[in-house]
Amino acid sequence: MNKKIPEIYTSPLIEDLLNEISPEELKRTERKMMLAARIDDALKARGMKKGDLAKALDKNPSEISKWLSGTHNFTAETLWEIGDVLDINLINIKEQRKEPVIYVASTMASMNDSQKSSIQLNDYCELVIDKNATNQKQFEA
């Protein structure tokens, strides 16, 4: 049997059109399609059909088909409504937490290697070494 692998074809016509598409345009299209895929996956994960989503949002099922086609420009409000029904976050508006900064003033010269190595940064504080400070340990909130 002939087990030929497929011939790869690079189309000059497709190439010409691709050259006219900016990376930003392609990114927008990709985001729309990824968003549709995310909603579709969430529906499947909850065992819901598009008709169930239509009913929950008081929409026509054809409207949901359009949403899932990857061609739709969603409003933020629609995404919040869909997110509420499917219990997913489609727009992340959570404010980035400003972590508290703790300043540690220390005289590095007076610390031995063991003390220096014991200083650790963690997720919630930023350690600032002030070489000119006279006090060994001075904390400011």
Partner: protein
């Protein structure tokens, strides 16, 4: 009718493989002909279709929801890429799961057309894909054509005459 199935390099990616077909000894694939026929009247729609096919291959795969199904005979996979609301250009494909699609041709679908059979050009393009789908199915049954790489590719007799199975 002579058919040669080829893989389109610019659309195929890690999420889906995108193919098209040469018919007889024509120098262009069905999809290249579709571009040529519509580039003057529907360029912005074509650009959008190109972008979506690129994303399907590279990121999302050929999800069913991106297509209108039931455009062919039951179970033959013939479908159309979902139309952007307000646009008229229709592209027919054969979809084999989310991993592989074969692009055919299509054309303008005027608003007054209720079913594809009402338009000579759409009917011709659609029925051609139905025939190609049927030919591929016959060859998959006889293992002349086989799935490869988790259904991402077809291998085997990808160049065939339809008369061979008549």
């Amino acid at each position: 009718m002579k058919c040669k199935i080829v893989k389109l390099d610019q659309f195929s990616g890690c999420s889906a493989s995108v193919y098209s077909v040469y018919i007889n000894d024509e120098k262009k694939t069905l999809f290249d002909k579709f571009i040529e026929e519509n580039i003057n009247s529907f360029k912005s729609e074509l650009l959008n279709i190109i972008q979506r096919l690129k994303v399907i291959g590279k990121s999302t795969g050929a999800r069913m929801k991106f297509f209108k199904d039931k455009e062919g005979n039951p179970g033959d996979g013939v479908c159309a890429l979902y139309d952007i609301p307000g646009t008229k250009l229709r592209l027919y494909c054969i979809r084999y799961g989310a991993e592989l699609i074969i692009l055919g041709g299509g054309g303008e679908k005027p608003k007054h057309i209720k079913k594809l059979q009402d338009d000579k050009k759409l009917k011709k393009e659609n029925y051609l894909l139905r025939e190609i789908s049927n030919e591929i199915s016959n060859r998959i049954k006889t293992k002349d054509i086989e799935w490869f790489d988790d259904h991402m590719d077809l291998i085997g007799a990808l160049e065939f005459n339809t008369e061979d199975y008549e």
